[in-house]
Symmetry: C2
Subunit: 373 residues, 2 copies
């Protein structure tokens, strides 16, 4: 990816810091995903620091990431600096040459102990450390064209994998354990050109499907409900899908089908209402009120969806109390579910790009109930 994308992100961040009265026009950035978004370098150990101050940019990394940082950073003006043991001490050594008296740090991505440590270093320089919230996360919610391209690629992998799974015969699927099917999903994502999974796939059979974050077990897959929730990673961007299907003859078919249709209708209502201008809370309510009206309100205990990008869960949260207004080129999941303890759960999830007058749904995978024979 070319430098101009990163330059434009840094530029926007600076504007944001200046205009929005964040009380600090400089910023210490600690979260690996935020650093990747702004520089192209993606450390994975939460040990790097990006500093924006005046017109200068510093990236502090340890030995392990030094060579990788030099090779992947896409901003010519950025100075890559190695620290040895104490990254905050090194940071303070850099800051001493600047006159700024107020230094901003991302308060949600620094632990309390580290905040106190850094605060002490800076107070020795008569500088004050203040907490700045979500400055980079807020930029990341609206995706640019390169990001949309990568997310769409990650979604097309998912479509291919789902299509592969639903072509199994039930008798073949019965030979898999949940873990083995999860692994098959992971392998297929890679053979369809993803780097890997965006999270550990959920493969949940029957009553286990009522646990929204269930981890697959060594149990053989039996007839009945199979809830599949998985995603691929393509060039460090994520996708996320859920489908609930039936495997072979299923004794509780009619109860299942009734609930399936409610979840599907709730999802369709949400998709129909999703566009620039609606608040996250209002969109959530469209699905929630419908599910409530069918008597399953207390069985839909999570939010309707979430943003997806470099992280599989990022802003905005689509929930009852979230006032964010959707904007064009946000990328969000829409995933209502109904969960009944000791029976099972049904969730249907798509990933969509918010558009001015509607959405672009990134999946082709069918939502008509699939029954493997």
């Amino acid at each position: 990816m070319v430098e101009k994308y990163y330059k434009s992100r840094i530029y926007k961040l600076k504007k944001e810091l200046e205009n929005k009265n964040f009380s600090s026009s400089n910023l210490i950035i600690l979260k690996d995903e935020n650093i990747f978004y702004l520089t192209g370098f993606y450390g994975k150990d939460s040990e790097s620091i990006l500093l924006l101050i005046d017109n200068d940019l510093y990236l502090l990394v340890n030995f392990i990431y030094l060579e990788q940082a030099k090779k992947t950073v896409r901003l010519n003006d950025l100075k890559v600096i190695q620290y040895n043991k104490n990254k905050y001490k090194k940071l303070a050594e850099i800051l001493i040459d600047y006159n700024e008296k107020i230094i901003g740090v991302d308060g949600q991505n620094i632990n309390h102990e580290d905040f106190k440590k850094l605060e002490k270093y800076l107070s020795n320089q008569n500088k004050k450390l203040i907490s700045v919230i979500d400055a980079v996360e807020n930029l990341r919610v609206v995706k640019d064209d390169i990001e949309l391209y990568k997310i769409e690629k990650a979604c097309s992998v998912v479509d291919k994998v789902f299509n592969y799974i639903i072509n199994f015969k039930s008798s073949v699927l019965n030979k898999f354990t949940e873990i083995e099917l999860a692994n098959e999903i992971k392998s297929k994502m890679i053979s369809f050109d993803a780097e890997g999974s965006s999270f550990d796939p959920v493969v949940a059979n029957n009553e286990y499907s009522s646990l929204p974050h269930y981890l697959p077990s060594r149990k053989k897959i039996g007839n009945g409900i199979i809830l599949l929730d998985f995603g691929a990673r393509f060039d460090n961007y994520c996708s996320d899908i859920t489908r609930t299907i039936l495997n072979g003859e299923y004794k509780n078919y009619s109860r299942f089908k009734k609930i399936y249709d409610i979840v599907l209708e709730a999802q369709n209502i949400s998709l129909d209402n999703c566009r620039e201008g609606i608040t996250c809370a209002d969109l959530d309510k469209k699905a929630r009120n419908f599910i409530k009206s069918k008597g399953y309100g207390r069985n839909f205990g999570h939010g309707l969806g979430h943003g997806v990008g470099i992280e599989v869960h990022e802003k905005p949260r689509i929930g009852v109390s979230e006032k964010t207004i959707l904007k064009e080129n946000m990328v969000i999941t829409i995933e209502p579910g109904i969960y009944i303890e000791n029976f099972g759960g049904i969730r249907i999830e798509d990933l969509v790009i918010v558009k001015k007058n509607g959405i672009k749904n990134l999946y082709k995978s069918s939502k008509i109930l699939i029954e493997l024979e």
Copy 2:
């Protein structure tokens, strides 16, 4: 796993809090791995809270994990409580019924913003929030028999996978990309009965092997260096291994072999000196001084090793400034490496149990240089 293990951990934690003058005999625990260690419930979203106060135990979870928490908690006396949106508010509602004036929270596992939020709730009850460091992490360093059993299982999976890989012909390996080989490793771990990887495998060919945390690419594997760093997860416990091997004819063989032998000897020196009673710093120095004496001091930029357990990186850190004294039944990696930019890197890593008079090495995988033909 039976209740007595968890009861004994809770008991030890309480003793620790009382004896060690942590300034607080109660504790708010936020890290998923610490909660799993103490209760048997393993949430994976950093949204659960465990509270130890007086003789009471509370686990606060959101809707997504409620059913799973009820099913997996192994302590009969623990109260599982669902919160809706604000976990800290719910926590404050519980704390109001207790007379304690000082409440401890793990300051390294709470972000600064959340600390301030919780501090405010508690100051309304005339309670003071204080930061407590590493109380649970310090308990986790010495493993009990069940933990050692699980780690050994995770290691035996790794031995099988390594043995599988080194039986490839060079001509077969040349058909794989790095990502495909990483995926083959992941698949094999599962077929050998692991739940999955303990981290994304590193498969690094030639000059890319000098990046210690390199991520595999879509490049075909060529002749020369292959650095393999991977680990399996068995019943939520990790293993971690590194071997550096050669694939086919390699033009830089003699330079490589010279460095390989230095790394191997540095590792053997460390293994020979590892036992109860030595400090982490002293153990690190055994390898580091040897590598320095051979002229590669600046090419060994990371610590000698780290603890492994529920997390693949946990305490203790085996590094130059770490004063921790090794104790029986700590489980640590020993992994010296030499990295040369634009040439490649060599690292050899074992996982060992520290014993009174030496170690138990958990791998059988050969360290004699393997050359695939």
